[in-house]
């Protein structure tokens, strides 16, 4: 590049500053969860583990954690099955309406969350007559998690081509054996990465969840939103927020280490 040294350093400064701004708020939340001062004046006056202990004993938080885990695991399981099937269909076959199907897979995440949320809310309540509960939230989460698994599996299928499978068939293995011994082992890390990302996405989701989870149930993000404006809950909210940061960024980091294929939530 023919840019002056000065420009280069300015750009580097912008990058460092930008990354600092990206990470600073997350660090503030993590740090605040240990802040001994309940009003969170900055800088913190001291550090304590008290709020973590209180959060661990808070029944509302624990119930929300269980709901989050149940919804996340169930949605991930459905997304893994449907995402993998769709990926095979779109990557290995040519058929009429292929572009429409791939658009359909992206749609739940491409439209604003509130549109997806009320569309499903309306469909469950007014059209199908189903009461909102954990089940409806799982259906909603699975709908937008499919794309994450799909993207990871498609990228892997594209990269691995069909040579090894053809070789396996030439050596006399039938389709099921080939899938079990050749295709699936090569897909495994992509599926694991896709599953981790789908779980993280479900764990974080708030807008669609607000519209599809039954009354009386809370996921962790919804617990935070419900308690955000209650001043005496602030320390526990900080702990739950810190937990959310760790639980959602750790799987993403792992997924990216596992499979460099794709990890952007289907939006990019």
């Amino acid at each position: 590049m023919m840019l002056s040294k000065k420009t280069k350093y300015l750009l580097l400064a912008a990058l460092v500053l930008g990354l600092a701004v990206i990470y600073l708020p997350l660090l503030v939340v993590l740090l605040n969860s240990f802040n001994s001062d309940t009003t969170f004046g900055w800088p913190p006056s001291g550090f304590t583990l008290e709020w973590w202990g209180r959060a661990a004993e808070n029944q509302g938080v624990l119930d929300a954690l269980v709901t989050s885990l149940e919804a996340g695991l169930a949605a991930t399981a459905i997304a893994l099955a449907l995402g993998m099937m769709a990926a095979f269909a779109l990557q290995r076959y040519r058929f009429f309406g292929k572009d429409t199907v791939s658009l359909l897979i992206i749609l739940p995440i491409a439209l604003p969350g509130i549109v997806t949320g009320i569309a499903l809310n309306n469909a469950f309540r007014t059209i199908l007559g189903i009461d909102l509960g954990l089940f409806t939230a799982i259906v909603a989460h699975a709908t937008f998690c499919i794309v994450v698994v799909f993207n990871n599996v498609v990228a892997r299928l594209r990269r691995m081509g069909g040579n090894l499978e053809e070789a396996s068939m030439d050596l006399g293995a039938d389709g099921i054996t080939t899938f079990r011994l050749v295709t699936f082992p090569m897909l495994r890390s992509a599926l694991l990465a896709g599953g981790l990302l789908a779980f993280a996405l479900s764990f974080d989701e708030i807008i669609v969840t607000t519209f599809t989870l039954g009354a009386g149930l809370q996921t962790l993000p919804i617990w935070i939103l419900d308690n955000l404006f209650r001043p005496n809950q602030a320390p526990v909210v900080n702990v739950v927020a810190a937990v959310l940061i760790v639980v959602s960024t750790l799987p993403v980091y792992l997924a990216q280490r596992l499979s460099g294929d794709t990890a952007s939530g289907g939006r990019i």
Partner: protein
């Protein structure tokens, strides 16, 4: 020949059947359940709620759309939402471009990989937690006030700051990809022909990466248009389109009107996509 082997042999000879089996479940789920729900939503937008019983009345009318267009409150909220979306997009583009430029053109391949992960990982940290962290930082005695001696408080400025923060990675990544594809030789040729940095940027780099910037703006725009939680957390008394939708589903229990309002961001996005289609931005997604 075992049953498994004969089944797999049969399937091998019938690729259409295999395709059908693979597609049936995802298509049933997304096509019927999700597309059906979307279609039903837009149909509901033409219905209305009985003022006495609160039940949805399935009579067709354009009343909801008429209210939306004629009522000044909704006009103001639509314009405010659009204004915030434009501001967020501009702020993000200005911050993202230099970051993406260094990543794409100066960082080593190893550093590039690490930087992409560094930008992408926080993308997944809870939306709510990130909005909440700005509430903490912008509060009267928070970090921002401590660092700069003043804080913008909760309001439109805080909303724009928080949303820009939330969607920044969605802008950095497409611009980075666009710049990564831009051949260095073009930039060098511009330099050889005597152009200085600024001229090269304006006449070579910017026009060629414009589609990537537009691709990023699709995310910042679309995500902002649908937002209602950030503005609730840091926006003070201000409302966006999403709040109107939310309030009409919850407190006002007027699902048809909520559906009508929800068509606004969708229509704006469709118009925007139609306008930017010719820049080639859609191939950059």
């Amino acid at each position: 020949m075992s049953i498994a082997a004969s089944v797999s042999g049969y399937l091998y000879r019938k690729p259409r059947l295999r395709l059908g089996m693979l597609l049936s479940a995802p298509l049933l789920w997304l096509g019927l359940a999700y597309l059906g729900a979307l279609a039903a939503l837009f149909v509901t937008a033409f219905w209305h709620t009985d003022t006495f019983t609160g039940q949805v009345v399935t009579e067709w009318s354009l009343d909801n759309f008429a209210t939306l267009v004629s009522d000044e409150v909704y006009r103001t909220i639509t314009l405010r939402t659009l204004g915030i979306a434009v501001a967020v997009t501009v702020v993000d583009a200005v911050i993202a471009f230099p970051m993406a430029f260094y990543m794409a053109k100066f960082a080593s391949p190893r550093a590039q990989r690490i930087l992409v992960i560094a930008v992408m990982t926080p993308l997944w940290a809870s939306y709510l937690v990130k909005a909440y962290s700005w509430r903490v930082m912008l509060s009267g005695n928070g970090l921002v006030g401590w660092l700069f001696g003043a804080t913008p408080g909760y309001g439109l400025a805080a909303t724009i700051i928080t949303l820009s923060y939330l969607w920044l990675p969605y802008m950095i990544l497409p611009i980075y990809a666009g710049l990564d594809r831009l051949p260095n030789s073009l930039v060098e040729a511009s330099g050889d022909l005597g152009a200085r940095s600024w001229r090269t940027f304006r006449s070579v780099v910017l026009p060629l990466t414009f589609p990537a910037i537009v691709a990023g703006s699709i995310f910042t725009f679309s995500l902002t248009l649908g937002d209602y939680i950030t503005v609730k957390i840091v926006g003070g008394a201000n409302q966006m389109l999403g709040n109107v939708v939310y309030d009409n589903i919850g407190a006002a229990n007027n699902l048809p009107f909520a559906a009508t309002v929800a068509t606004v961001p969708v229509v704006i996005m469709l118009v925007y996509l139609f306008v930017v289609r010719r820049t080639g931005a859609l191939d950059n997604l």
